[in-house]
Amino acid sequence: MKFVDPIKLAALAFAAALILAWQGLADLRLISPIFFPSPARAIDVLISRMADGSIWVSLAATSVRMAFGWMLAAAVGVVVGAAIGSSRLARELLDPTLEFIRPLPASAVIPVAILFLGLTNAMSLTVIAFGAIWPVLLASVYGFSSVQRELQDVAHVLGFSRREFLQKVAFPSALPDIMSGLRVSLAIALILTVVTEMQSSLPGLGWDIFFAQRSYRSADLYAGLILLGLLGFVANYLILLIERRTLRWRNLGT
């Protein structure tokens, strides 16, 4: 039998102590229960909302919105990135324009998107995809444009067609870059999901938090925050798993 790592135990104790201190301060009314309701109340809200099922609706709405926006960004980002990355002319034509648009805060396109699409799911998806596309796109451009010289020579010697080269050599070689781009994109997608839900009253956790504040139910607000944190954590963990799985071949040779 193995002993539990004392550091891990201490880490757990630290987190627990923080929560307990908060609970104690809230119970003693040292901090305002309006702003900082005790953790027990937030958990109560979480449990009761799980029981009546309303939380799953919000969680599902937010997850689906985030996933769809992200997948849209991923698909467009990888394909366009491959097109730009594998052609020098395309890079010279488009790089300056991309560099100019990239620093634009993604939320700044919300007003434009509302103008064209109204307060709809299509608007939300457009904004999420617009914001989340940059890390994938840039990573994909970089990945496809920096295929090793030797690999290019091998493909040339083997008489690969352009499509074969992209498929069998360039894409696998760009995959590590693309995967790390995808991970950054996912975090951005979650942020924009919350922002668009707040901005245009679309159902989901972002709107729940916003509405909880408007009706001064701060325990609900914290319950929403906890769930959002969990969602972010799980999403990041899932993509790390996918990354490790798809990139396993890289570690086999070494």
Partner: protein, 249 residues
């Protein structure tokens, strides 16, 4: 030179097509406006100072938030970097807080600070503190052991050790985190303004859209691109220079 020429072909083509299609009535004016109108709206908002005032409001808040995040992040990061055990004990808590999107705290900080600089700066600070914290921990941990031993031999106090040994030695790497955080600061500030806070560039952008001043809206969007581009260029420059100076210490 050739690169600049090639790079401007596509934007110029888009702008010309936009202007022509708008003049011929193919693109509805009330949603697309047209480049000449956007340029006029940009000039007039620049002339009457409203654009510059909004820009200042956004930057002021972003800087305040960034300053708070820098102080908190560097101090905490330096301590955690020096004490690996403390770092391992706190890291699950940090990893649990980090994935919560900063913008999700908007309602909470609105309740605590009301509209204004405070709520926006607090969100910016929350968003910026994580990259600074994590980079600082790594940077401090990578400091050469001998430098810390010298500090110990000289019996420097903790502030003196921090100021004279740790920060100079770790600065080049902390700087990377600061640059990432600075870009995040402006983005988060604009986002808070768009969703909630009635001040700065983000709010003016929403206002222009809601009052159907479409030309002004595009002008402000363009302005945001310009600012972001200049900021990124400036950060790259500053980063390079200060690293060179301090890197030689």
């Amino acid at each position: 030179m050739r690169r600049g020429m090639l790079g401007s072909i596509i934007p110029v083509m888009i702008l010309c097509a936009w202007e022509i299609l708008s003049r011929t009535g193919t693109l509805p004016f009330d949603a697309f406006s047209r480049p000449s109108d956007i340029a006029l709206a940009w000039l007039s908002s620049l002339m009457d100072g409203s654009l510059l005032l909004a820009t200042w409001q956004t930057f002021e808040t972003a800087l305040l938030g960034l300053a708070i995040a820098t102080i908190v992040g560097v101090l905490t990061g330096a301590m955690l970097g020096l004490m690996p055990i403390a770092e391992r004990i706190t890291s699950p808590t940090i990893e649990a807080l980090r994935p919560i999107p900063a913008v999700a705290f908007m309602p909470l900080s609105l309740m605590m600070f009301g509209f204004g600089v405070g709520m926006e700066a607090s969100i910016v600070a929350y968003a910026c503190v994580w990259p600074i914290l994590i980079v600082t921990i790594g940077a401090v941990r990578a400091i050469e052991r001998r430098l810390l031993e010298v500090a110990e031999a000289l019996e420097l106090s903790f502030p003196a050790r921090l100021w004279k040994i740790i920060l100079p030695a770790a600065f080049a790497r902390i700087n990377v985190g600061l640059r990432i955080a600075a870009a995040i600061a402006v983005v988060v500030a604009v986002t808070v303004e768009i969703v909630l806070n009635p001040r700065g560039l983000g709010y003016h952008l929403v206002l222009a859209q809601q009052s159907l001043k479409v030309g002004l809206m595009y002008a402000q969007l363009f302005w945001l691109c310009v600012i972001g581009y200049l900021l990124n260029a400036a950060l790259r420059n500053v980063g390079g220079r200060s690293t060179r100076i301090l890197g030689s210490v």
